[in-house]
Symmetry: C2
């Protein structure tokens, strides 16, 4: 059997390696358009923050190892341009300009996602950057090194934008952040996102929310970012306003796309063509709270989906449970985490949601070094079910959110969750874990 | 209705306050034998570590507040000596030597637990300490202040012993720890407890496991601890070899006791007498993994049980889900956590347990500041069920264990747990959370 993979990052390489490991008799070819495979994309902001480290430090396993140790026919610099599901063939052109063709019995589309770049003037100017692939990271690092970058404007205020803000700040670079819509982190409970806003302002970051972008212009050696009612100058601009799934190849092959043009997959990662799988940032997943399709382009999900594809190809039953939408990030001294649905998403999904936000402490009464910790929790009035949790603080946030994620996987009620035996010791939290206190408060309102 | 509570610590005061808050028409009397109520007992080692802080810093709410704000008839210095279930009366003697008597409609026994002191010579000498009540903490602080304590021998190597070892070490005091049985933390997977042993040894703590105690003797101004084959001198001795439930009062009243002489309660905290409840360290609970009675004398459980008693007295349906045996503690630079059953306990409970121990990293590939992180996970071969998790590391342990605790409450399978959408960001862990990696490894063996 021949298994062909398009895309050599998290989902693609996970699938390829696992098939080879479990069924060495299956031939595996990976077609990757860039020269980079298997790197820690999420680590890029932290690598960029350290000018002494090479971007290549993020490579988890070199291409050579996949070829020699795993026996994968890994072809970098191979851009697939067409899938022919009838003939079970893919074709494209190599970086060297040479056409190639490749037959498959099973195909995995793991083409990832691409940064959204607005169709406005000036976004193709030198010094206007995006950050998704290792090549983007390399380009940013080189640009920072070779130009005397003292000031950067970041367009967008999501995960990547915030992590890059911190990274650039660590390099002594002044940062302004701009977004079109009025709220920083609109998915977050407002009191909590205000805490993040203050943290950024305290660090000296200029925050400009509610300024629709118009264009970028070259101004001498600098760039000028023009928005409605606001113009900012910078030495570099980072566009971090979101990503789109790379699904055109799948669409051209007649595969079914869902909302946001994400490739539709079932719980064994099969697309609408029984011989073609999709996994990673280009594919959708089921949400454990709503039971409906959702798009969560995050790393764990991509790796897990890659493995699941491999297992299915190797003949195992695969029935992925789905995602809870768990995410965490760090922004200066704060840890930010969420899982499940917020109030708006829950209402939209047909629940009758109620939420509560509490502010408590990260350590026990009278224990030194304690700091504020916020929890927002959402439940369903009709069923009593736990729907989502958000958390924010200087410590104790990241691991804690996982308890709520597991509770969502188990469709736990707020009442049952409030009864859980969570860890306590004075250096690590109050006797009643902050999530339990939040659940107890929510129970009064449900 | 008259509600009488024996014992004014976590369970007792939680119950008393909640009844008053929810049903102000119920008269509430609390009879506490000491002069202290409502303090953070678990905080004592950390308070002792800081000679600049008063032990009274640990008082969460002063007696005055309970009397004046909550309208609780709080009688400190009142030692109950007898319960008469037929007459629904308790009687005893006050510190001033005055007999008292008190009638109840509903009674809560929240008498806690007492440190075990072996029946061997010399354990009543001055300078031989225990640590359970605030009075004990006060006595230790005073002793350390007034005597030039340079060396302490701690008998026992459990939570309190280890936390006190760190506290005394922080004060510049040399510590030797001794126990009769051969293993440090026998409940812990051996490779992991070895890591703790090394941490203690690196800090200069003398560890002597496998030396049965014989007696303590006075030797000039010092104490001499004699064990088989070992004699140690010290300025102070701390006996921390465990606790026994304070259940004699209940036994004398004819209430049913279970294993370890713990007061038996049902899921609404009622004892074998329908008018008498028991909660906190003197009472048992149901284990969510085994479904059987267990004794876990920890703080969260005591507080929760106190609330549950109050809710039941106020007419609500109460059906406590039980405990998972979740516990965490800090020892020097290490965080240690566990929930559920270990391999031995699981076999004893009738499961067909299999476990696996992994060593991974606390942060993502190539992220600076990463340290080792160990996970031990146990599952049942017959049912595939997750039975317990232990964890150890310098960061990221404490919150993380809670996800496993929630999974135990939900009777999750290892397979389902391995599918959960746990948080990932490079500063906080690998893409595959250490618990997921452990679960994936265990799946191969189940």
């Amino acid at each position: 059997m021949e298994f062909v993979v398009i895309g050599g990052d998290a989902a693609g390489m996970s699938a390829a390696s696992r098939v080879r490991r479990n069924r060495p008799e299956i031939g595996v070819t990976v077609l990757e358009q860039s020269v980079d495979v298997s790197y820690s994309a999420c680590g890029m902001p932290y690598n960029i923050a350290d000018s002494g480290r090479a971007i290549e430090d993020l490579v988890v396993r070199p291409a050579k190892a996949f070829r020699e140790k795993h026996g994968i026919n890994l072809l970098t610099g191979h851009r697939v341009e067409r899938i022919d599901p009838g003939e079970r063939k893919v074709s494209g052109v190599s970086l060297a300009g040479k056409p190639f063709e490749c037959s498959y019995d099973r195909l995995l589309i793991a083409t990832g996602a691409s940064p959204i770049v607005p169709d406005l003037p000036g976004f193709d100017l030198p010094g206007v950057m995006v950050l998704k692939s290792l090549e983007h990271g390399r380009k940013i690092k080189t640009y920072l090194k070779e130009n005397n970058v003292r000031k950067v404007v970041i367009l967008g205020m999501g995960y990547i934008a915030l992590e890059m803000c911190e990274a650039l700040h660590a390099l002594g670079i002044e940062v302004d952040m701009v977004k079109s819509r009025p709220r920083l982190l609109p998915w977050m409970e407002e009191k909590m996102s205000d805490v993040i806003r203050k943290e950024l302002e305290t660090a000296g970051v200029g925050l400009h929310a509610g300024y629709p972008l118009q264009r970028i212009e070259s101004k001498g050696r600098r760039l000028s970012v023009a928005c409605e009612r606001l113009t900012l100058e910078a030495d570099m601009v980072l566009v971090a306003i979101g990503v789109n799934p790379n699904s055109q190849l799948a669409a051209d092959a007649g595969l079914r796309l869902g909302a946001d043009r994400v490739i539709e997959t079932d719980r064994s990662l099969k697309t609408s063509d029984p011989n073609i799988y999709a996994a990673g940032d280009c594919a959708d997943a089921y949400h454990v709270v709503t039971g409906k399709r959702t798009w969560v382009p995050l790393a764990l999900r991509a790796n897990r989906a890659g493995w699941a594809v491999a297992d299915h190809i190797c003949g195992q039953t695969v029935n992925l449970h789905g995602v809870a939408g768990t995410g965490v990030f760090k922004v200066f001294g704060l840890q930010v985490a969420r899982t499940g649905l917020n109030l708006t998403q829950a209402a939209h999904a047909g629940f009758e949601p109620v939420d509560v936000t509490i502010k408590t402490r990260s350590r026990a009464h009278a224990h030194p070094g304690s700091s504020d910790l916020w929890v927002n929790i959402t439940g369903d009035r009709k069923t009593g079910r736990l729907l989502g949790v958000q958390m924010l603080g200087r410590e104790g946030v990241v691991g804690r959110i996982n308890a709520a994620a597991v509770a969502l996987h188990c469709r736990m009620s707020v009442e049952h969750f409030s009864q859980t035996d969570l860890a306590y010791a004075p250096p690590f939290g109050p006797v009643w874990d902050p999530m339990l206190t939040a659940a107890n408060q929510l129970l009064k309102r449900l």
